[in-house]
Subunit: 235 residues, 2 copies
Amino acid sequence: MKTVARSVDYYRRMLSAQPHPLERLDGSATIVRCLRHQEIANGSGVGGHWYYLMAGAVCRSTIRAGGRRQIIELMLPRDFFFVSEDQAEETVEAVTEPAILASYPEARVELLAERDRQFARELREISSQPLIRARSHLMILGGITAIEKVGLFLLSLDGRTSSERGRVELPITRYDIAEYLAVSVETVCRAITDLQQRGIIALLDTRTIKILNREALEDRTGKAPVGSRARLIAA
Amino acid sequence: MKTVARSVDYYRRMLSAQPHPLERLDGSATIVRCLRHQEIANGSGVGGHWYYLMAGAVCRSTIRAGGRRQIIELMLPRDFFFVSEDQAEETVEAVTEPAILASYPEARVELLAERDRQFARELREISSQPLIRARSHLMILGGITAIEKVGLFLLSLDGRTSSERGRVELPITRYDIAEYLAVSVETVCRAITDLQQRGIIALLDTRTIKILNREALEDRTGKAPVGSRARLIAA
DNA sequence: CGTGTGATTGATCGAGCTCAAGCTCGGTGG
DNA sequence: CCACCGAGCTTGAGCTCGATCAATCACACG
């Protein structure tokens, strides 16, 4: 996990080196380096901002009635997300140390979209990312058992936090995972232990998991097939 | 519940009578009347379609590994939603009898958006609806207890299925609610009974609920305050 | 070398899944 | 008209899973 400390300049160079939808605005982008638990505020304060996450992880969360924190959205490297100006109710914050972001003022983005049809298309593309993430999250939360949730969570991470497929670098703490999955930390731990003991995953270290049996994670992970209650709709 | 059978013409007139973002395209809209369990297919087959739900309810669902059906999204009257051409994995279907929809071919919508800046803005508005619904659903699924989920579900319905605030017409069966909340039908029933016995809601009939104590539904409905495990982040 | 954060394990108990049974109500056919 | 049927709704009993409380461990850091 130990991340090498890089300079902001290093990341600026990295940004211009790799192609991405907003690259034409890199000139007006700001590289932001965030500490853990630091809120992603709006750089300047005028209007919202688009962000491109280059390293680390960022999450959007809410405090539920009752005081429990719920993570609504988890952003990983190469994800785009938007933070509006006001942002009542919700908090967007870094959950790794550090998190590196490129920040693009909404106004600039809008302006270019007005002028350039191709760019407008690409903007629509990245605007759909939050919905895709929400749907994925929805399916994870819709799991019955905790093992199922953890399993789906691991699968959803595969290929996003490590270049090697089947090797998952957990970017966040068990506590954050718990708040993302709406279960207790202890349950997250036990689920991971369970999966490990059954040989479905292996822990290289606390934060690195190797997926050994992908099918077992996909298929309802851990329960008998069970007679589907689903109505069979003869189409 | 007993719905009066209306003609397609009746709905066409209703459509042109009430203002809505896509009204300028009502000329090229088709009124579709769906039976329960009928899939919302793409009218013509060329490209996706935007739909405006005028009456009834429609849901998007998936079969999970394990065979359980999961409702991903629930559309209610005055909601807009998009159904793309292919639609693998997912099914969009009517869950009431009947459901009345206005269907707009994607191509027409895109074309107008290209030409008209104001319309493009409105289109972006309705394009954000699915994300809002997904977030709302996410918060409901993130509840710990079943009572909490059912309570939040009822609140999310308030003002959307009945003109009278505090009076909720359940548009779908308990089975569908269960699949939306990812709990068993029995649990949905028991939760409703519980809330009723505690005087938080009242059942006018099986499908009509009156919210008597809104706060009790909002606040974690049914558990002691509980020491929040959430880390307190001194900002 | 204490201290704090994060991870893990154990014990207990209540919530919810499951199986099972019964109820309500509208429709259908004898 | 009534018996029957099936879909939807409800309730009960038993058992499993996960929340909670509590303790311990690992490890980085000052």
